[in-house]
Symmetry: C2
DNA sequence: TACAAATGTATCGCTCAGCGATACTTTCCA
DNA sequence: TGGAAAGTATCGCTGAGCGATACATTTGTA
């Protein structure tokens, strides 16, 4: 049985979880597996479903769910039809956001950026093969989710991902391409390795990355990478708009410098 | 040893965690205790600090931290000076927000509200003695945190809390007052039971609740409760502004109907 | 309305996962 | 350059937690 769990996009990076590790506590992993069972569902889960999804027996799932419930990390659904994640989870969200120096420093920068850009602005952090959204400032008309902290997108086909890859070595880029489960999220998604490498080269030249309709129809997005002092890309700042309002060239001319500037401000540690 | 952990404000409600519960898995609780060790810190923690904060021995903390690290729920700090929460936490954040029907339905309502209100708009959910923020749409000038999902405030002294209490029985209100660790967060915080009850009565009459500078100097906030079909208050919608720009009466006249309308829209299930 | 399927809950004896103590190694200051 | 503190590793004992299973309760359907 493997404790490595599938995330929204791609698999964990250095996840050679050694099952014979003498320091590895099975029950801890099981707790997280149970919570992770909700990654792949849109509705409350039954105990059996949790057991199946997290690859453990009914009894184990029962105990773990029971314990997590006592502690507030799992709750009964509003109409008592199944289990859902509990509100206690948000306490840890807060801790993460507070203690991540990038996120902590990002708010004023993002708000300043948003003042000049009347479009959606996002901050995302790299985690292996994906970018996880840590903050979003929505645009005026957006009818979507206002806040989708925790949402993640693949690196290989997004503006933010390309901005990140632009600051990695060719070998690392190839490894990302190789290991990513590349699929056409929209008909415009670029999935062939050479196409991706070309976009990365483009990003290296421009200092920012562009993606058009590769994740969402009608959306144009550009991004600039945030770098650690040693040059490692930690994440990206994205600006996203609608192709019904923007022509790609105009969008870049107008917003690329602003995104770069904001990302630069967050890169100085 | 007690597994019940202190949250940001107040203690868990029905948290008589029976230690002799045969279904209770100690190691699962320990995992969450380790993660909760970060609740009370503003910086990375050492292993010893984690052990102390979570009330377990060095060895146990070592094993749990090790395991959580393998799984991405704990990370080494950027400059390798201690442990911090890991990005995997945000995956669960997303699950919580997605699977909470209130939050899932809230986005369009909040955005619509925000369109008419150029002030800060929040959605919070009740958890025992506190309200946990699940979404925030910042105002134009706000220089704070743009997103502070997971932040929590006490019920007894906030607009949202009063809006919630207005829909509880007197006995329940008294219990909240009694069990809350009431302290003067600002000099204006109302902490005496009768004062709080008066504000709750006021909220019942008005259909919305008001709080001035009780949590933050210079801030005026009003809120309306979101109700389950059976009338139980689940949370609140808040609108917050600055006293340097608003006179309380004008603020209420202008925004109370909008907050009520939005809360009403989310109350219809 | 009655039956079957599924869901949540409870019990129990066996055993190995995980406990605590402790020792080793490295890093960081003073 | 010493000493304190941090992270890592090892080990034998034992009770925490394992899986199997039975029970209770709800749900959907014929």
């Amino acid at each position: 049985m493997s404790y490595v769990q599938r995330a929204e996009y791609g698999v964990r990076p250095a996840s050679h979880v050694d099952e014979d590790d003498p320091l590895f506590v099975q029950a801890v992993a099981r707790a997280m597996q149970v919570l992770s069972a909700f990654h792949d569902t849109g509705r409350p889960l039954s105990l059996n479903e949790i057991a199946t999804a997290s690859g453990m027996g009914r009894s184990a799932a029962q105990r773990v769910v029971h314990t997590l419930r006592q502690l507030g990390y799992v709750e009964r659904d509003a109409d008592d039809r199944g289990f859902v994640p509990g509100i206690r989870i948000l306490d840890h969200t807060r801790d993460y956001l507070r203690l991540n120096p990038l996120v902590a420093r990002a708010s004023p920068v993002l708000l300043e950026l948003r003042r000049n850009v009347r479009e959606r602005v996002d901050l995302s952090l790299r985690d292996g093969l994906r970018l996880v959204y840590a903050a979003r400032l929505q645009s005026k008309r957006e009818t979507f989710f206002a806040t989708l902290v925790g949402q993640s997108v693949p690196i290989y086909c997004t503006s933010g991902g390309r901005a990140v890859m632009a600051h990695l070595s060719d070998a690392e880029v190839d490894e990302i391409i190789e290991r990513s489960e590349r699929r056409e999220i929209t008909p415009k998604t670029i999935t062939d390795p050479e196409g991706i490498r070309a976009k990365v080269r483009e990003a290296r030249q421009n200092g920012y990355a562009l993606a058009m309709e590769e994740v969402l129809q009608g959306e144009v997005a550009l991004a600039a990478a945030i770098l650690a002092p040693d040059g490692t890309p930690l994440g990206a700042i994205h600006i996203a708009g609608s192709l019904s309002e923007w022509e790609p060239e105009g969008f870049c001319r107008r917003f690329a410098p602003l995104a770069s500037e904001a990302a630069g401000a967050l890169s100085r540690f």
